[in-house]
């Protein structure tokens, strides 16, 4: 193959093979942990795969989980392009839920197509609002955004707990959650939508917000690579000095990107609250903000990659919950472990496999007959 085609193939290999290699490493190590606690990793893996993709309902659940992760993954990815590490997606999703939830609770008899835009708007604004202070502090004071967003996660948790226990709780019940939303605030499920055109599926809580998430991914892609503002974001992230030279204000970009990031994370309740739980409940993000970090890194901050990685993690979560029926010792924390390992391999140890891969490709190319 010619030199140019050879290097193009090498690029593709890196984009596809490296994330796969990283995921494999993460799974292998998790498998070792499974072994340590006395279960069979291969059985566990098969059960997970079956649980995630083995049935229509399983696939539905997988995609439903993936929806959450697409929102948070996009949030982290967008921030990353500006050189920022948004660890606060968890808190931003939580507070976004407050916004969407308030709209839904006051929806009354309003129809879905009226409630949805209002809820989206509120969710995005509240999510962005929760990112506002850390964003401002980083842009103006240089206060490390990682620490401030982590703090805001904790503060969000405390705030929402207080609200759900004392203010928003449905009168007369014990569990800290609001009353159920009216029908107009419910997302149409996949079963609803496909049923209307005659296809019968059992797809769990998979709902319309999945399409919203995909649209958001497409929007982010266009923004980052096909708009002038996206160009400014990328320059700021790669080289703030060059940004200043080019007349771009890194502080302004930092601030606006964090708001956008918070808004994207804030859309998560469209799926979780309007699509599945139909009420505001305690800790509904359930760690999705942190999964978003793994998803963004695995997807190399590219919206397409984020979607694929989100589905993979959705499969992990769905497969994991199926797995816990047969192996009660494996629970949600296992998925957290895998998340952490993915972040480690895709994010911090990404060079580990890069060099051997490059060496492999080089020797492969050398073996090819040159023109």
């Amino acid at each position: 193959m010619s030199a140019k085609a050879g290097s193009r193939a090498a690029e593709w290999a890196e984009i596809l093979v490296l994330p796969a290699a990283n995921l494999l490493a993460a799974l292998v190590i998790s498998g070792i942990v499974v072994r340590i606690i006395g279960e069979n990793p291969w059985t566990a893996f098969k059960l997970m795969l079956g649980g995630a993709f083995g049935s229509g309902e399983g696939i539905g659940y997988t995609l439903y989980y993936a929806t959450n992760f697409i929102f948070t993954g996009l949030a982290v990815a967008v921030a990353y392009h500006a050189g920022l590490f948004n660890i606060g997606a968890e808190g931003q999703a939580y507070i976004g839920g407050l916004g969407a939830g308030l709209v839904c609770l006051s929806a009354g008899a309003a129809p879905f197509w009226a409630v949805l835009p209002a809820a989206m708007f509120a969710a995005a604004v509240f999510g962005a609002g929760w990112a506002l202070i850390p964003a401002w502090l980083q842009a103006r004071r240089g206060s490390h955004i990682v620490i401030t967003t982590i703090m805001f996660n904790f503060i969000a948790s405390a705030l929402m707990t207080w609200l759900l226990v004392n203010v928003l709780i449905k009168p007369g019940q014990q569990s800290p959650e609001t009353r159920q939303f009216e029908a107009g605030a419910w997302q149409p499920t996949a079963a609803d939508i496909l049923g209307r055109i005659g296809i019968h599926v059992t797809a769990g809580p998979l709902n319309f917000s999945f399409l919203i998430a995909l649209a958001a991914a497409a929007g982010v892609w266009v923004l980052i690579w096909r708009t002038r503002w996206g160009y400014a974001i990328r320059v700021t992230g790669e080289n703030p000095a060059a940004a200043v030279y080019a007349g771009i204000s890194p502080a302004k970009v930092t601030f606006l990107v964090m708001l956008l990031s918070g808004a994207l994370a804030g859309l998560l309740p469209l799926n979780e609250l309007m699509g599945a739980q139909h009420r505001i409940s305690l800790d509904f993000p359930a760690g999705a903000g942190f999964v978003g970090i793994a998803v963004a890194l695995m997807g190399r901050n590219n919206p397409a990659g984020v979607c694929v990685a989100a589905v993979l993690f959705g499969a992990l979560v769905q497969g994991g919950s199926e797995l816990s029926f047969d192996m009660p010792h494996i629970n949600r924390d296992m998925v957290v472990l895998i998340q952490g390992l993915v972040i480690l391999f895709c994010g911090a140890l990404e060079n580990l496999f890069k060099e051997p891969l490059r060496g492999l490709l080089r020797s492969f190319r050398r073996a090819q007959p040159q023109p």
Partner: protein, 325 residues
């Protein structure tokens, strides 16, 4: 008199709450001064807490627990050093990865081994924990107002680890400023190329610094699970690793100011805990969630307002590429 008593008790509580923060802040000091971002304090502490509680429960010995805690944290530190120094990976990402890994693996192992929903068994035996060490005549001294009470409550009665933490502050300062190792460590955080050209291994210094920070976090985590509590509970560090880092930043990466910041945090925390359920003028009873949130809010204020723009070690967070002369 009431006021004095309250104040002394408050100060004693402050010291207890501050101990893990101080240890973690010192850990952060060594790591960051050598140029490696110390966001992994949280995970190392949590890992140590789990290991210490597990080994103490199983072996019946707090000292073995301490050893296990320190060892666990140092293994995590080794992983962190490998990712940050050898692999030259993104230090923030590596630290977050370690934190999340530990948050996941500890409850998994705890559940599998002890079947208590992700906790370790309660430590009942005195030998399994580091309980308070009563100084001589403390009981008698208590009846003497002010100085006696100070002796009895503030100085005496703390766990061994508290005294250890207090001693480690001047020791760390001495190591940092009066030894060859300290000079080189500070240099490598400012200009690793200068150190490399002088023929000293940058990687080795950074590994040593990160391992030291691991050891210190090991003590901190051990304190949390087998001294301040009687067992490991999921996510028990609750952000203390980040609070310690904030205290370090507020203290401009110097041991004594960082100590001061830790005491400040701890005092606010102790004070808030004291005020729980107590009706205050005007505001009434502060909801418990607000008290829980207080340290985090304080951290944000600290990082935002009064720090201004403090200068971290010049080379921090930048992986070192050899021969980039």
């Amino acid at each position: 008199m009431e006021q004095y008593t309250l104040l002394i008790l408050l100060m004693a509580a402050t010291v207890r709450v501050a101990t893990p923060l101080i240890l973690a802040a010192l850990a952060g000091l060594f790591s960051e001064r050598s140029g490696v971002i110390a966001l992994g304090l949280e995970g190392m502490m949590l890992g140590a807490a789990f290991a210490a509680a597990t080994v103490s429960a199983v072996s019946g010995s707090a000292w073995l627990g301490l050893g296990a805690g320190v060892l666990a944290a140092m293994v995590l530190a080794l992983l962190l050093a490998f990712a940050c120094v050898t692999q030259r990976g993104n230090q923030v990402v590596a630290a977050m990865a370690v934190n999340i890994i530990v948050a996941g693996v500890a409850p998994v192992l705890a559940l599998a081994w002890f079947d208590q929903g992700g906790q370790t068994p309660q430590l009942v035996d005195r030998a399994q924990r580091f309980t308070g060490i009563i100084w001589p005549w403390a009981r008698q001294a208590r009846s003497v107002p002010v100085p006696g009470l100070m002796y009895a409550e503030l100085l005496s009665g703390h766990s061994l680890i508290v005294y250890l933490a207090a001693a480690l502050v001047p020791l760390s300062a001495w190591v940092l400023y009066r030894t060859r190792f300290g000079l080189r460590l500070r240099a490598v955080g400012e200009n690793p190329q200068a150190v490399d050209t002088a023929g000293v291994s940058v990687a080795r210094l950074r590994y040593q610094a990160v391992l030291i920070s691991g050891a210190l976090c090991g003590v901190a985590g051990t304190y949390l699970s087998i001294s301040a509590s009687s067992g490991f509970v999921r996510d028990m560090t609750a952000g203390k690793g980040y609070l310690a880092l904030a205290a370090l930043i507020f203290g401009k990466w110097r041991p004594y100011p960082a100590l001061g910041a830790c005491l400040l945090f701890a005092f606010a925390d102790a004070l808030a805990a004291r005020l729980q359920g107590v009706p205050l003028p005007v505001v009434g009873v502060i909801p418990v969630q607000f008290i829980i949130a207080l340290p985090y809010v304080l951290t944000v204020l600290l990082l935002a307002g009064f720090v201004g723009k403090s200068t971290p070690p010049r080379a921090i967070g930048v992986p070192y590429e050899k021969g980039s002369v």
